[in-house]
Symmetry: C2
Subunit: 283 residues, 2 copies
């Protein structure tokens, strides 16, 4: 995996993900300049103080002007607009990627829409947290994590590889798949778990909360995530989320019937299969 030396990297959105990219780039000396771009002066000031970026600007056209690489790390409902703005202001040859949790809608909205000479490839670093904001940023957030890079049919040769090299340089392992494959898989591995964890927390009678222990705490941890962000993700990927939910509801119905009938054999089989899956993943 080659380490790409960047001259100027512009990061739009300096929260957990954007800030961690900046910290990693600076700590690993992978970019000469890391420009933080945002809409709120206070967030940018905070990001600069924390050392996640080397300079900041509220003006996107200024921020991306000299960039070799632009990373859009905003909530998913803003990504398409920011990529368009960045593409308009960027010079020839600039590579643009994002860090959104869904890919099909974003990639389809941008496919064939950008000016020649500016290349966009979608990304999704699987490195979230229930925390958010610049203060939660960490230089090692991507180390050992998976980043999915999602080229489509019209992606220029070499662009997806360059984006994959960028994430590899931050310590991640890059997987390539189509935006549609990504969204189908992440519905099961991330979006449905978030929904289920939240509904479980919400369905716990308040009087019983003093009787929660590590099991409840682990199972519901991600319910502390941002409600707006997750509403966007679940609705953007609704078709796949509904498919995953249907699969989950089906196994839940089997379990409910087994409990109703006192059918230990079926229940034990469901729990044993689940244990085998969980043991295979580890940690």
């Amino acid at each position: 995996m080659s380490r790409t030396p960047w001259n100027t990297v512009a990061i739009i959105g300096v929260g957990l993900i954007g800030g961690s990219i900046g910290l990693a780039l600076r700590e690993r000396k992978l970019a000469r300049r890391v420009v933080g771009i945002g809409r709120r002066a206070a967030s940018l000031r905070k990001a600069k103080q924390l050392g996640t970026v080397s300079e900041t600007t509220l003006r996107i056209e200024r921020g991306v002007a000299d960039a070799d690489l632009v990373v859009v790390a905003t909530p998913i409902d803003q990504i398409v607009d920011y990529v368009r703005e960045a593409a308009t202001a960027a010079r020839q040859g600039t590579l643009i990627t994002d860090a959104g949790s869904t890919k099909a809608t974003i990639v389809a909205s941008l496919d064939g829409q950008l000016s020649d000479g500016v290349r966009f490839v979608g990304s999704h670093p699987l490195a979230g947290s229930e925390k958010s904001g610049p203060a939660a940023a960490a230089a090692d957030l991507f180390v050992g994590r998976v980043v999915v890079v999602t080229p489509c049919k019209t992606t220029p040769a070499g662009a997806a590889e360059a984006v994959a090299d960028f994430w590899s340089a931050l310590g991640a392992t890059a997987f390539m798949m189509s935006p549609e494959e990504h969204d189908a898989a992440l519905a099961s591995t991330s979006h449905l778990p978030h929904l289920v964890a939240s509904l479980l927390a919400g369905a716990t009678p308040r009087d019983n909360l003093p009787l929660t222990a590590t099991g409840w705490q682990d199972t519901t941890r991600i319910a502390a995530g941002d409600a707006d962000l997750w509403t966007q993700i679940l609705l953007d990927n609704r078709r796949n989320v509904l498919n995953s939910l249907a699969r989950f509801e089906k196994t839940m119905q089997t379990a409910r019937r087994a409990i109703e009938r006192g059918d230990a054999k079926t229940l034990r089989r469901l729990l044993s299969e689940a244990k085998a899956v969980r043991d295979a993943v580890g940690s």
Copy 2:
């Protein structure tokens, strides 16, 4: 909370919970002798090597003969029989408790059944783990944790308090409630979360497992628990588990309809309520 000095404590079942009780008693010098009782010589040898007990025996009548306190820390389907055996062999005044995850069936099966002069009060330390066995035992397993002590109408005066003092001496906070209240609450805070975590792990398509990250890992962690133990728990407490499951299914149906209709407002409300609950519990 007074620290009760015990002469001899007998522990039936020297796995995670029994072993941790032994380690805590010995490290805190709360008992002169800690006798480990079990059915398998290999487990007892392991427990002795690890220092979780000071002596061991395969013969329950010998193990409990001099005990002031007997703790039955076996899978729940064996607890009633072991308490009966221990009560038969124990001397007058011996206090017996257990560490089972369900309480109503166990307490009802023993209520009024034991010989005079032997006192039984149920307990449930909320200090499980997806790990099991003597090697997983830890002296601090109960520190800062909640233990529910479940007296019933016929519990002799002072017995529940003595059991609560025992758990307090190990570093836990003891709550008193009836066996029925315990089972209703734990269905929501422990048994349903276990079932949901397991079903979620089991419903994840195997091909997608490389795309799991910390969210999936946290949410499904307890699915690695022992399938036999959890089958027993879910069936023993089936009425309450089904009630909790029905509440969960109802909120899930609301969420599904909101996703189907693209109803961001309802979805955001569900996720926000869940976040408030989760934030209130912390860690």
